[in-house]
Subunit: 417 residues, 4 copies
């Protein structure tokens, strides 16, 4: 099954914005193969605007000349992805990533390129044209490139089938489709078309939907048609965003399971915003080490996908250690049925049974701005007793589920019956 467990990998957005290039993708893939793969990391994902020759930051450039094939499908900008020359698309890059034992993913936008409609290009394998299928009144609120499709037009399916055929031919393993997950109800049918194109393309491709917040009341639709879907708007290295994730996690946790994982967005750790000479927020994560532990703990307890946002080759020791704590990462694969125990403005605790029946995990979070002694009442274990190990420190908890936590820090115990 695709996404039996939450996917783990790297995505180019947080460090390279709309401007990532082939060399950067390759170096991150190589780092992953060497340092992270043994811990379960495997996806390498190229984010938005790979078809735009002049992209240089996180901004979008309207009315620019994007690279299209003769069927109105985006193809990689060759000045940024040289191996795409000669119509090869992402095939050579995907091959390289595969050669490292990893998987390759790309970002797409709902709809088709505006210029494909204005130029009235044909759709590959279809009797319809892009102009017939494009909906001139359906645009993205934050990106200038696309028209949504006329969802009830038979050519809409043709277009989506045509792009997934192309991606399958390139060897793509993962597609992050954007401008869609929070666009209910009007994009409901478009989600179904994309899902069907993905599942029918002849290659196993993970389908991830963005941006969030996806509406909670569409959980069943999302579970049926996608493997991942974003539960928040873009997540960055700011404490208020991390704190706000607890409320999202509480609402979505019951919807996590094999094949369908609520997505809390990339992990903005390590070297970020590398596409700027200087950026007001700096080129390194603004999260404290405590906050990064809290993030990893929450993501693992809620079984969120783990997609690293930082430039991997610049990882420092802390970051690498954070991403390679086997005991913490194991929560993603060995727990289930997690939920919060209680939440106050100052602290929060979560519990998750272990599927092997050998006990459970309990996490405690200090949401306050001061150091704080946090104790989780063992009554929540409902009689389970055994040895408790705190997984960030490796220490045994002899006196109960008690931790002195720095501001915004977390502890997580494995209880072994």
């Amino acid at each position: 099954m695709l996404t039996q467990y939450p996917p783990m990998g790297w995505n180019s957005w947080d460090c390279y914005g709309a401007a990532v290039n082939e060399a950067q993708v390759r170096q991150n893939a190589e780092y992953m193969a060497e340092h992270l793969k043994p811990f379960g990391w495997e996806y390498v994902v190229v984010d938005i605007q790979w078809y735009q020759p002049t992209a240089s930051t996180h901004e979008y450039e309207p009315f620019s000349d994007e690279c299209l094939d003769e069927y109105g499908r985006f193809v990689p900008a060759e000045n940024r992805f040289p191996s795409a020359a000669g119509g090869a698309g992402f095939g050579p890059l995907a091959d390289y990533v595969h050669s490292l034992g990893l998987k390759f993913g790309i970002h797409i936008m709902r709809g088709l390129p505006r210029m494909a409609a204005h130029r009235r290009l044909p759709i590959e394998g279809s009797d319809y044209s892009c102009a017939e299928v494009a909906n001139p009144n359906s645009i993205c609120a934050w990106n200038p490139d696309m028209y949504g499709l006329r969802q009830d037009h038979p050519g809409a399916k043709d277009y989506y089938d045509s792009i997934f055929r192309l991606y399958a031919s390139w060897g793509v393993d993962y597609v992050k489709c954007d401008d869609i997950a929070r666009e209910y109800p009007h994009c409901r049918r478009e989600i179904e078309l994309i899902s069907e194109a993905c599942r029918g393309c002849g290659r196993e491709i993970v389908l991830s939907l963005s941006p969030g917040p996806a509406p909670l009341e569409q959980a069943e639709h999302l579970k049926k048609y996608a493997n991942l879907w974003r539960i928040t708007d873009d997540f960055w290295d700011e404490w208020p965003l991390l704190k706000a994730m607890f409320e999202r996690a509480e609402k979505w946790c019951i919807h996590a399971g094999p094949g369908h994982w609520p997505d809390a967005d990339m992990l903005p750790v390590g070297a970020l915003r590398q596409c700027y000479d200087s950026h007001p927020l700096g080129k390194w994560t603004n999260f404290t080490q405590a906050e990064q532990r809290t993030m990893m703990t929450l993501w693992c307890m809620m079984r969120a996908p783990l997609m690293i946002g930082g430039e991997l080759t610049k990882n420092d020791d802390f970051t690498l250690a954070l991403l390679t704590n086997r005991d913490v990462l194991a929560i993603e694969k060995e727990s289930w049925c997690a939920h919060p125990l209680y939440t106050t403005g100052e602290e929060c605790a979560w519990i998750a049974p272990r599927r092997d029946g050998a006990g459970c995990y309990v996490a405690a979070f200090n949401l306050s701005d001061r150091a704080r002694r946090v104790q989780v009442d063992e009554g929540c274990l409902e009689g389970i007793s055994g040895h408790a190990t705190e997984l960030w420190t490796g220490r045994s908890a002899r006196k109960g589920l008690i931790a002195r936590l720095a501001p915004h820090d977390a502890a997580v115990w494995r209880i072994d019956r």
Copy 2:
């Protein structure tokens, strides 16, 4: 003063949709000059899509080839308006309308043509280009042609100035600007830019804003920046729409005055939908004669602009008489401060003082589906007494303001002190 009184004229939309041509405009202008001008009718207005060579109905065609000049300004499609050949634009047609003693108007859309942005055309008289000024995320909800402008970009003013310079050079007297009147708050600044361009173009041009409903709470902004603004969505020859106008009229009546007139849309009388071989609603107004009297009475009492929607040359005797009742039309110019007296589901009455001090007007409407005796309590006159004449029949009202009204019919009395 421009629009000292509510404008009166003809508009091509109700009979010719997006497809009117020069011959049709000329024949309606000629009819107006001969039959209607003596009663105050004077504007001849060409509605939407005059730049689109293939328009044939009320529908819009996305991604079509509209006619642009080298500065991204629409120009008339020459196959439809032959006199525009050689870059003359609407100049020759405006000249002809003027030669008949009438005034000439056109329809425009907020923003600039999408293709002008994608082609990165320059703006006449500006250092900026259409691509810089267009907002790729601002589109019309119902028409596929335009991008709205970046309201705070200095080039936005340049673009609007450039089009009004062109219209002034053509001799345009009236501009109906669409996709804007109900688009508060985001189009607030765009309204101001258009108004300033209109008033600064060197020619007196009436500015009318569409579509409705404009928001009531923006009344002061509209009064300041426009001469007319629509208070409803498109109005057609259906009784429910006419009945609903009473509520709009009640709310807007206090905002009518010299230079600023709430607009209840065209009068769908006579020959409509002429651009179709056959149309489910037919090619003649579906309003009964009674309903047409009600419409004219309400429009006159609330002092709404009067824009005929029907093909004038096909007027029958009733229609011509309806449009040339001097006593009723006089209400538009001689009354003021009108307001409803009372409204029930079944009937309604309005009152309007006469500005000359010689009495007032009282109108009574049968909103029910049955014939009905309607009597307006003369207590509402607050002591004014005198001779009352019903203006549609010309009869004296000796026994009070009493009328037996057919379903949906109206009576209106002039009280002469």
Copy 3:
């Protein structure tokens, strides 16, 4: 007709709260008869809690012993209204007010006294009891005394009939019914019952509904069933409340007419809050003289009822002059069809035709906190020309409708054709 013009009078609330007594009512009536009656003032109204022996301020005392007759009807507390002794009720006091050539009014609450229900008292002239008719779940949000009635119970009509019979027997001319005007939709039927009881009681009694804001969309229901209804919550001597009245006035002005007048609440002028030894807001109006002119001007232009709130015997020269400016007061009786001309954050202007045809009134208001030159464009007169007199100063306006106005001040011109 009752309330051919908006009523004018005095109400005890602003100066005596819930605690007014007979001596105070008499002294205000005597003052009115001597100083105000020649200018049209005529109603003397005793406000809320006249049945409560221990009332002393504007506060309500829950679970107190109110004075009831054996039928569950409030009667005046004899310690406060000695002439009510022996079951005379307000009869003697009403007689005295009538002897001065004035009219007498009282305040009532929707519903019946809670204790009348708990004591299961009979209803006068009915087979039902107060316990059967009272709705235990319908209470007032701000007063602890009453239960609303079961509107669909036949005894509800009996109870309201019984109290209006009593009031008619006392000689009451005016009833201000509270806890009802803004209580749509659930009190819709109760309004109708009260109105029918009032009109059927055998005496002409003005019916006034409080508190506001009454819902604008119920205007026709209010016009049909009441003579006055409040358009705002309680109005006091604070500029923000006065400034906010302009928006209410704009919405309601079209609903003013013989028999039905939107009510902007009492005029808090002169000596207020006399029931306190000391009060944080003081015992004299906080309105500047300018603000009082603005208030009187707006109330007259919109033809609002005029009910003085201050203790009349303490009027100073300014206050008396304010209340006896014949030219300004004449607007209430001689104008009609008023409406605002324009409104900005800084100024506002209104116009009202004169019913005699001899011209109109124009008022200008400085809503800003600075002195300000205000000029009303004479284009608004639509051609009426003639001599203009400013009515607060008595000066001719030779150069146009121009005034230098102090902060929050007003000017009002009569234009004589």
Copy 4:
């Protein structure tokens, strides 16, 4: 710990409404002791209006004479509860219930009796009176007896303390407090006062809050201050209400745990509405046997409290079997961290790990109106494999989690690793 597991018992409302009497309570207690206690059932709860001598159905009688002690506290109506004579209150009845090895509970309303305020009775052990503490503007929307308390008045705590002292002296084990659980935010502080009075009264008393729906966003407040709280409005024997419970259960399941249990209301099984000679809905549950299985299965999977609503002595074989299926009832005590797997309009499935690590429970529901084959994908077990037993039939599931379910029926499997 109080409510280590969800409470199980019987409540008088569904069968006897406001009119239950001592004999009826005793006979149900005796039945429970004999037939149900071995399966974990233990609470016997007297619902609303035990202080009202004339109650006879589910209706409330306004302005009636309820039984109060001299401190404004309700006491049992002696005509209905003879053992309460002589000021004994519920003491003798509680003693009897305890003698059977069971626990005794009562229903109360937020606030104090209206008559206690109007009579200005003192509060036991306090310097304040009921009149001072009662809020005359806080009433229940559906019951006519009470005033809420002034939450910030020091006497409010005194009153609640005084009633819980009384209940503790009687030997009450369980208090169901009504008119409060859905009354956020205005009853937030009143919940805290009641909780503190309950926990401070010197006896262990379970606190249950009604009616629902309690607001989900107050889950943490409810978990902190109450042992149970209702998540829906009153639940009766109608399929639409049962079907609607699935959505509630989904939202609330993460908040169930030791000491705090979301409450889905009584189980309307067996003999209901016994207080009527005849009732349009009949005197027996309208649920089919299938629906009763679905109800029990859902309540157990979500770990909802189990309170039987039917007259126990009239149980038929099916009902008794339904209530004494040890394997199904075990889910309440042996599972944890349950959540829905998926939900469609036609079917639904839930999963719950077993705390002993030996496997899990999986339930499947047919929400459709037709018989239906339901199969739960074993992928949801994430690798757990073992023997599956369907707990209603006792049959082994050899071919997977498959059931042919009658309309509205359920199956539930225990997976033994």
